[in-house]
């Protein structure tokens, strides 16, 4: 059960158990043999977690968000505040990334020019 779920989630079984241990995903029910039984619904949550992860939300914060989620309606406000904070971080990261993207483009052009100049001066040398 955990193997199939992990494959569908794009995680290793190690990671799925680890996420459960630290409270990132709720402990699922078990079958008669003590094995974890997952519902497909949980995949959406995993997908969201991966997006938070990929955009640099700290493990501790993801765990906190997961705990809020289990508490229901009373945590709407705090969850929204966490999302707002993360949104601000993402906007800042986007700006920084865009800045470096521009720099990369300029540097690539520079190196193209330098390479061309080098080729030219080598041809000169060969001819001279």
């Amino acid at each position: 059960m955990i193997g199939e779920f992990a494959r569908a989630a794009g995680l290793s079984t190690y990671t799925v158990r680890f996420y459960e241990k630290i409270g990132l995903i709720p402990a699922p029910p078990r079958d008669s043999g003590g094995r974890r039984v997952y519902s497909k619904d949980s995949l959406g949550w995993i997908h969201f977690l991966k997006q938070l992860n990929a955009t640099g939300m700290k493990q501790a914060d993801r765990v906190h968000y997961a705990a809020l989620r289990l508490r229901g309606e009373e945590t709407y406000r705090e969850r929204r505040q966490m999302l707002e904070a993360h949104y601000d971080k993402i906007r800042a990261d986007l700006a920084a990334l865009q800045k470096t993207s521009d720099l990369m483009q300029r540097k690539i052009s520079l190196y193209q020019r330098l390479e061309a100049e080098l080729a030219t001066s080598e041809k000169d040398t060969n001819n001279g």
Copy 2:
């Protein structure tokens, strides 16, 4: 000397020595007492390194780039190729970040709506 340089670079002295040890920054000349003497020119390189770092280039790759840089003209081509690869990674990261940014906005709106509904139903309860 290292203290002043580290402050100007926005790094700790530990980190500056560590970067030198792994080859990220060239070993500077030493004064009569064996202390490192930095030229201000190196700050530009540190700044560039920090941008590569902040945009997720691996330490090993940064070290490789630094080594190419010391070898001069003959490595223009390989340096450009590394920058192109990093540029591609940055473009992908930008797209992913934008996607999550949009998701955050939608979720924030959702929670605002949920909070408003909750407030309404509480008022109803108070009145009823």
